[in-house]
Symmetry: D2
Subunit: 258 residues, 4 copies
């Protein structure tokens, strides 16, 4: 919007704050996505093949938690750096078409359209479960699935069964909308606190500086980010050290060594 | 009951079957206990100190899953062998009195009475959460807690707040009853299937042998146990090998070596 | 040997003691096998496909540690109960022939002969590494491999390169002998202490009871096992609780409930 | 050096490349640090209290791998954001002085001076092991330790025993120099390949652009970084998808939503 001149006022990109995306997106979405799917389906995660589509911070969180519950995780990712991290983190990485055949549960977190499309659903085995925890209900191509289905019915709240022409049944959760908000309670308060703190303190920051800030997209100032982390640690009863003067000086220098 | 002559008919100790206690107790209770506490409280598990009281199969399952969700797990156990396993599995092990001061969330799975008693609750910090996933509502000494409390109220379904004389608040889940059955849906069908198969096939076993079985407690026959595992693997689409004749012969011998 | 009347004196099956096989076999073999392969090859474990053949206590240890270093673990097992545990523990389980195609590193811990045979090696990809950490050098069929090879040479200490007729190279570690003893230092002292304590205390037990013990195979007495665990915990500075009288009484009863 | 005008030619900060610091520092240092300490001491990691000082990419790698081997990990960190990540990753976080009392093995990865100083060593228990895997041998204050010691001797290669006045023994590995380079073989080739590729391709980049690059510090161009990741994935036999045109268009737009 900024590039298109469509912004009406200055924006702070709160999602880019470390105390937002490293925590809310990873630990929050990780847990609440699993939680939403569990509440919707009451499946046992242990031993299941879970396909995580998208290995951004949200995808990492979900992959980490699915593994923590005993699932075998397959990651689908288009960015080679992220794909390589997923490999080194111990996950199998493969194209979506191949993952479609292997998965029991599919979770999209790409922020993009049709991450799972018709040809993928064509390849899924009977009983596969599809959920989205990305941004909108466009990540699963449900229109295509509706076209493939001979019958649809809700078998539990948030669980819709699509019976395909060949008899296979696919289960779509929460109509492809964010599963953690639909079927669970969204993120726990203890992770949203940091996200809201970023919004509140960034709003204050804009207001107090209002006249000097041209219309543009700004990062959350590092001091706000660090202050939120400090307050959060204190609320958890965790104490940390500070650098000594000697250490601060050493870090800034480049002359010492061995 | 057997020792006391109180049995009225032969019993098969289904809980001792490997396809029961290794799976239902561990993977089932592990997941569903966490699930029940999450639904009751919507807490974030990451970064929390979780005290697991009892390191039997159920306790192992809960410890494993709490860690899998990012918690730091403390194990309390009276059996030295199990305590040592918990240490080697990477958990902190300490007496209950010490754990009482450190924990954020307490989960009892001991099968015994007063695993958490008055003096432990005396030491807990404000905001601590207590849940039981063992057998009965005797593991937490709630009578003592009621005596310590100046005020009690339900703040969410399954969450009772006890305000103590010194102002601390402790939260008891589901009145100390099994949290997975109270606040969640119990074990997933895909783990109960094996437990029920043990019950069904053991009943059949007793009935078909009825005249020959004196009143006593019996183990589930190994063939039933192994057959259930085989059927379960098949249902998951997992294939395994069989020993070759050469391998079977080698295993039975003691003469070869190096 | 007992069944064949070949025993010359009473034997205590020390390997069956909990403080032996639950610790030495699992945590000891787990770590030292990985250590031996690392020293022999200096491979990076992260992102590798590691095939663990045999899911007994040793195999569990190796699978757990390979995963802990970032590998993707495939388990091969003939026992359905163990295979099912491996599935629920989050590993892929498949027949050896299929694993042969997928694996980068193969580790046998079966206690049996030809766990990896000619037709498996036929299917392995170029660069695959084979090691044994089971009991003897019979788990890998090296005779068959020698017959398949056009050229053999040692490329690092403990690493022999077999060049096959089709150009593929397979690497066999330590001539198929126990890799942890060959290329590393065997188990750490802090796990062997318990194994040796079992041997010493069991020998004492036999000697002190000598006249009364017929020639047979005996289990390590539970008191010895528990005492070793107690001493080990103390040496680690870990304290645990004891049951109260009330708890002991409750455990023994069957009349209370809810 | 750039700020001080001390640079003699343009520099590409190769360590900042994603295919360098996310992999070499994390997975490489993580594994090789553990490897170096294992080879030097042959300790069992399971059940040990490991203190990781510094939670940058190297520290994360070491913490992850120590946990993967069954250790209980304590993180010491001065940056509140990193400290909070360590908490959420399931580690205990505390000031160095407190960690000094709790730890069995201390590993510094701070890039700073005296991360472990005299007052910390004063508080360590008998038998504690100290190693550095940061940058230079200044992270441990060995001068102070030498002043505290009554006796010093090498008890194994790379293991020096300092006997203090009060009888406690502390063990310093590799004279405080990088433990992975001293006692093991440094990083595996399969992670250094990416680091060297960054150096080679960045050198080529500077040379080909030589005339246009003023003396300054540059980032590795994203295309080089991504190309290295792509090549690495290919070498591992891992295939990934590319965005479709529809997906590329959707990502760039801000008008669609729900």
């Amino acid at each position: 919007m900024c590039g298109d001149g469509a912004l009406a006022y200055p924006i702070v990109a709160v999602n880019e704050a470390n105390t937002k995306h490293l925590f809310d997106n990873r630990y929050g979405t990780g847990q609440s996505t699993i939680d939403g799917i569990t509440r919707a389906t009451n499946i046992l995660w242990a031993g299941r093949q879970v396909v995580v589509v998208g290995y951004g911070w949200c995808g990492r969180g979900v992959a980490m938690r699915a593994r923590g519950l005993g699932s075998q995780v397959i990651v689908v990712e288009v960015d080679p750096l992220r794909a390589l991290e997923a490999v080194m983190d111990g996950y199998r990485v493969m194209p979506m078409q191949e993952a479609a055949r292997a998965g029991d549960i599919f979770i999209t977190l790409t922020g993009d359209i049709n991450a799972i499309g018709k040809h993928h659903m064509d390849a899924m085995h009977d009983g596969a479960i599809l959920a989205n925890s990305g941004h909108f209900n466009v990540e699963l191509n449900l229109e295509a699935l509706a076209g493939m289905a001979e019958k649809r019915r809700e078998i539990r709240p948030f669980v819709e069964e699509y019976t395909l022409g060949d008899g296979r049944k696919l289960f779509v959760l929460a109509d492809g909308r964010l599963i953690n908000l639909s079927a669970a309670e969204g993120h726990p308060a203890s992770v949203m606190d940091m996200s809201f703190a970023n919004q509140a303190l960034s709003s204050e920051y804009i207001v107090l500086k209002e006249e000097r800030l041209p219309i543009d997209v700004y990062r959350v100032p590092h001091e706000i980010d660090a202050e939120i982390a400090r307050l959060k640690l204190a609320s958890l009863g965790v104490q940390i050290d500070e650098l000594t003067d000697e250490q601060r000086k050493y870090l800034a220098s480049w002359e010492e060594g061995t």
